[in-house]
């Protein structure tokens, strides 16, 4: 049938691109992760050995993998709640009928989202400079000793988290605002007539009705934050003491700095499995708590 053929014709360019430049490489990555493909093999393919699951096994015994995993989980576990809390607060404030010049505030709060990570990470590097940074200068004014933000292994990750919150909270803010606006106003009206205070209204109306939106926002943010890379690349180069080496940074280093493509592919697959497991778990949790009538994906 002509229409059937037309459909495939329309799909062809996109499917070709996705197939050749995404799906095929993903499958190849799985194969690559079972070999010891490295510079020697790149020079001469006879130096390539099939090693089975050795790369995965070796990863599990590599302290740097575990610390990269730890750093990434730290970033996700602290960064996601903080980001979403910031988004929620901003959305609630913006959504308040008392807020003035809303379009202006919305634009300004969203602006960091569209900026280039590399460029703004460079700014933060200077703002948080131990000696000349504005942040430490401001803290000194209120009597706090200078903190070596990006040089102290205990502070580097928190600084990167603060950066990520600043950079990203606007995105979820917009989604949450849309969720807030979808809540029927008469619910609040009825609550007010019943004499419910503002915090009670928030707790009993806003939060439950916002739940699907929040779950969506959480899952999207978690999946995104697991892919931490450019921030440590620009701000700390993985240091100090590798305290900001993320799983993806490790993959980049193994793969494109030292050209151990086999190991790096194994790292990439581990990351994929972890993201998959965590988001699936979150989805499960979300569904279990949902009302029976709740919308399913």
């Amino acid at each position: 049938m002509n229409r059937q053929r037309a459909a495939w014709l329309f799909l062809a360019p996109a499917l070709l691109v996705l197939g050749v430049f995404f799906i095929l490489p993903v499958i190849a990555a799985l194969g690559l992760s079972l070999t010891d493909y490295d510079l020697y093999a790149l020079a001469d393919i006879h130096n390539l050995r099939f090693v089975g699951l050795h790369n995965y096994w070796a990863l599990l015994h590599r302290p740097l993998f575990w610390s990269a995993l730890g750093n990434t989980f730290y970033f996700v576990a602290v960064g996601v709640p903080l980001s979403i809390a910031a988004s929620l607060v901003a959305a609630l404030l913006l959504n308040s009928p008392l807020a003035r010049i809303r379009p202006f505030f919305r634009t300004v709060l969203f602006a960091p989202v569209v900026t280039t990570v590399v460029a703004v990470a460079v700014i933060w590097r200077y703002l948080f400079n131990t000696r000349y940074g504005l942040v430490n200068y401001g803290l000194a004014e209120i009597g706090i000793h200078p903190i070596d933000w990006l040089g102290d292994p205990h502070w580097a990750m928190p600084t990167i988290i603060a950066f990520a919150v600043w950079k990203n909270f606007g995105y979820n803010m917009i989604i949450i605002m849309a969720g807030l606006q979808a809540i029927p106003p008469d619910l609040y009206e009825a609550a007010r007539i019943d004499g419910a205070s503002a915090p009670r209204q928030f707790w009993h109306i806003t939060l439950p009705l916002l739940r699907p939106t929040m779950m969506l926002v959480v899952i999207l943010t978690v999946a995104g934050y697991f892919q931490l890379f450019a921030e440590p690349y620009v701000m700390t180069e993985g240091g100090p003491l590798q305290s900001t080496v993320s799983v993806l940074y490790l993959m980049y280093q193994d793969g494109f700095k030292w050209w151990n493509l086999g190991t790096a592919s194994a790292v990439a697959f581990m990351l994929f499995l972890i993201i998959f497991a965590v988001t699936t778990l979150l989805l499960r949790l979300a569904r279990r708590g949902e009302h029976p009538a709740g919308k399913r994906t």
């Binding site: 010891d36 790149l42 006879h46 130096n47 050995r49 102290d152 100090p240 003491l241 590798q242 700095k257």
Partner: protein
């Protein structure tokens, strides 16, 4: 309803649409458009950091002498250079000619990426092997084959503030580790908060490596099959290095956070700075005239008297994939002329590798250079295994943890060995199966 358009404007709309499709279909050919078809003689030349900026001023002279050759210069940051070179090799996009840190030659030679240069040297009237410092020339020969022509030599030593040292009661810079420790302790004692006797960025391996090369024990053993970092010699160097941090004589800072080391030395934040010759130029350029008399250079102190240092520096190499190898060689010859090398020294402060280049100009008379010249007599090469860059990077990561107090010296040495042995696993397999690192 726009479904009933006049037939006349259909074709034009459709044509426009087909154009988009066509574009999507042919974009594979885009690479052809983005690679300008190589001119008869366009040379791509990769140079790093300060050298890249300085050599840009030498190239017009070359192009003037060779009107048929055009040089496209690319400047790589030092921190990215090693990775960029490997990536270029992996992606078949190596340049014609490049500046190569001489510790990387073994690696690229093992990958079969470099053109052996002996045939050119044999017929050259400019490049005379006998004129080069022997130790430096040797770092360019891997298994008897010459892959690079030394461009400049470099070793790490001490920059120091004469006035601060004098105020602490010392008229001359340290010659041995013991003297050095005494001076740093004295400087520390009269310190203002936030000031330190010495700056040793924790993410640079050259400082610890310099100290380690002053020891007798080799850094790798069994023909480069295993690490030898648990030797008493290396542990002594590591303990000295770590001790400086433990006594808070150096800040635990990486060079990403030291915004401007020259100004900081000028302000007295640091009295010593362990670094390389290009800083002579930086200090002269960045410090005000009034302060120029306050700083100087001194050979690196050794465990018991003046010590050795790393034989580093850069060589010029030609890549095997280059289609302009003869022209690339002409550029190498031009940059090897003693007069050009002296000019290069004046531009950037990098020291020439051949004796005849030293016989003239400011090189003979400059007092700040003499410390380097003295130390160049005592430089030692690093192990010539392809994995060296990775091993030494790992060494510094572990050493930094020890400096932060997370590991003891013994633990750190064992950890460095463990990492080195893991990195060398493939090399051992290749050697055992007689594949050799030469494919």
């Amino acid at each position: 309803m726009n479904r009933r358009r006049s037939p006349a404007d259909r074709p034009s709309r459709l044509r426009r649409w087909w154009l988009v499709l066509l574009l999507a279909g042919t974009c594979g050919g885009l690479s052809a458009c983005s690679h300008p078809t190589p001119d008869r003689h366009t040379l791509t030349f990769w140079a790093m950091g300060n050298e890249g900026e300085a050599v840009a001023q030498l190239i017009p002279g070359f192009e003037h002498a060779h009107p048929d050759i055009h040089v496209t210069l690319q400047q790589l940051p030092w921190k990215e250079a090693h990775q960029k070179l490997l990536t270029a090799y992996a992606g078949d996009t190596t340049p014609d000619i490049a500046q190569l840190g001489n510790t990387w030659i073994a690696e690229l030679a093992a990958l079969h990426a470099l053109r052996p240069l002996q045939p050119y040297v044999a017929h050259s009237r400019v490049v005379q092997p006998d004129d080069y410092f022997t130790g430096i020339w040797a770092t360019n020969r891997i298994d008897g084959i010459l892959y690079g022509i030394p461009w400049y030599v470099d070793t790490r030593l001490l920059f120091y503030r004469k006035d601060l040292l004098k105020a602490a009661g010392f008229d001359v810079p340290p010659r041995s580790w013991a003297e050095w420790s005494r001076q740093m302790a004295a400087l520390k004692a009269r310190d203002t908060p936030g000031h330190f006797p010495i700056l040793l960025p924790t993410n640079e391996f050259e400082q610890l490596l310099s100290l380690a090369l002053q020891q007798d024990a080799p850094l790798l053993r069994d023909g480069g099959r295993y690490g030898n970092f648990e030797s008493p010699g290396f542990k002594r160097a590591l303990a000295f290095y770590v001790g400086i941090f433990r006594q808070r004589e150096a800040p635990l800072l990486s060079n990403t956070e030291v915004a401007n080391p020259w100004l900081e030395v000028g302000r007295g934040v640091y009295a010593f700075y362990l670094s390389g010759p290009w800083n002579i130029g930086e200090f002269r350029r960045r410090l005000p005239a009034a302060q120029q008399g306050d700083w100087s250079t001194a050979p690196l102190p050794g465990p018991d008297g003046p010590g050795a240092g790393i034989a580093s520096g850069s060589s010029l190499v030609i890549f095997r994939r280059s289609r302009h190898q003869a022209q690339a060689w002409q550029l190498i010859e031009y940059l090897s002329l003693p007069a050009v090398q002296r000019k290069f020294y004046e531009l950037v402060g990098d020291m020439p590798p051949r004796r005849s280049s030293w016989q003239g100009g400011t090189l003979r008379s400059d007092p700040d250079v003499q410390a380097f010249r003295e130390q160049l007599e005592r430089v030692r090469p690093t192990p010539a295994v392809p994995e060296w860059e990775r091993i030494v990077t790992g060494m510094q990561l572990v050493a930094a943890r020890a400096a932060h107090g997370e590991l003891t010296v013994d633990q750190a040495a064992a950890e460095i060995d463990r990492r080195a042995d893991a990195i060398l696993a493939k090399r051992r397999w290749m050697l055992d199966h007689h594949r050799g690192p030469q494919p």
